[in-house]
Amino acid sequence: MEPNNLCTVERRGRVHLITLTGAGEHRLSPALLSAIRSAVAASAGAGALVLSAEGKFFSNGFDQAWARTAPLHLHSTMDGGFRALVADLLELPMPTVAAVTGHAAAAGCALALAHDSVVMRGSRGFLFMSEVHAGIKIVDFLAELMREKVPDAVNRRDLLLRGDKMSAAEAVRRGIVDKAIDGGVEDVVNAAVAEAEKLAARGWDGEVVAEIRKAVWPKVWDKAKDYGADAPAAARPRL
């Protein structure tokens, strides 16, 4: 993977660990999405993947500031880039774990939930679908991803329609994330890596993991599949 100042990759045992670097909001701009996709592609040969972040934020969602200055015809590169990243994660031939080390809002929250498992920092940070407060309608792909990953009607309403800021404890209680981890960013990362290592140790056939995962989340896969790295070039939109 080309070095960049947006994210790093490292191997810890069988785990391919991606870290969104810096103290910023890790807004999902086309550039960051592209960097994460490269980092995901570099996971070949690993047994499991972890996505984590430095600082106060996991990701605060799409880069609206960029969208304000970019010409309208380029806006699809952000939506398309996000779909492509989700497609890459859905068809990744290994288990995936999100280490929600800080605030995960809007598309940042959806990105975390696009992983197979989610561990979240207990003491700080919220899951926050902020759109209702910001006056932003939720586009179909984002809604589909949230619907598949948050099947409970009350959870869906509270998270998306009421825009609750959900702590890790609350999210665990509701079954939206898997574990709340005490401590700092490093503790959450270590817990996520440990979880990923356990999953890697199952020795599952990666292709089977990918096939079963796509079958378990068929609606979001169907809406993402033409965007991913392995999509047939004819189907893939030009981003």
Binding site: G135, I138, V139, R147, D152, V154, R156, L160, L161, R162
Partner: protein, 242 residues
């Protein structure tokens, strides 16, 4: 049949009278008109409104007016067809909605309560009950869509639709069907209005709120005839604000 009052930024829709508030054509028309009035009033007032639906007497509503329908399947279908657009109006309403289940809510009455975003129910009396299985009536498909959308706890859907379980407030809360339980009808109404005030105070853009509601329950909304906006239409709305 029903009244609409405004208390600050909360619209209170009351099913009046001591009867079962059967959903016949006149009551459905009356409710539709009231909902439309609330929507129009809120449109001119700007963001920050909410709707509470309450009922007088021992019943919230016992559903479609099967007394009027009698043995006529045609009449029954006519009632189901008339209720569908009211359900759509509630699901597309550009403000948060709260049902104060102040009495029995069965069949179409239960559906009416489910068409709201939140439900507050009295503990002392009254049940939520889908009676169709016991009476031997089939369910309109949009009824099933609504229940499938909103009743997602394990076995809850089966218990409610296929077993005709009568739910007191506490059990309904366990199943995620009711959000808050209050001792009696006065407290139920007060709590529902308070909840509505809190929701209205968020000053959410009504159009955005309705859009997000549709995007979290798309199949139910489609089943009552709501056509969801395309992404282009949704984004156009945002682009024009930037």
């Amino acid at each position: 049949m029903c009244t609409l009052e405004q208390h600050g930024n909360v619209f209170v829709l009351t099913l009046t009278g001591d009867d079962e508030h059967p959903l016949g054509l006149p009551l459905i028309a009356s409710l539709s008109s009231a909902v439309a009035s609330a929507k129009a009033a809120a449109a001119s007032a700007g963001p920050g409104a909410a709707l509470v639906t309450v009922a007088e007497g021992r019943f919230f509503s016992n559903g479609l007016d099967i007394g009027w329908a009698g043995t006529s399947r045609t009449r029954l279908m006519e009632l189901a067809d008339a209720l569908r657009p009211l359900a759509a109006d509630l699901l597309a309403l550009p403000m948060p909605t709260v049902a104060a289940v102040t009495g029995h809510a069965s069949a179409g009455g239960f559906l009416l309560a489910l068409c709201h975003d939140y439900r507050v129910m009295r503990a002392d009396r009254g049940v939520l009950y889908m009676s169709e299985i016991d009476i031997g009536l089939p369910l309109p498909s949009y009824f099933v869509s609504m229940f499938r959308a909103k009743v997602t706890a394990a076995n809850a859907l089966r218990d409610v639709l296929l077993r005709g379980t009568k739910l007191r407030a506490a059990e309904a809360k366990e199943m995620g069907i009711v959000d808050a339980v209050c001792p009696g009808p006065t407290e139920t109404v007060a709590k529902a209005i308070k909840l509505a005030e809190q929701l209205a105070a968020r000053k959410w853009d009504g159009d955005v709120y309705a859009s997000i509601r549709i995007s979290i329950f798309p199949e139910a909304c489609k089943s009552v005839g709501i056509v969801e906006e395309s992404d282009e239409e949704k984004v156009k709305n945002f682009a024009s604000r930037m």
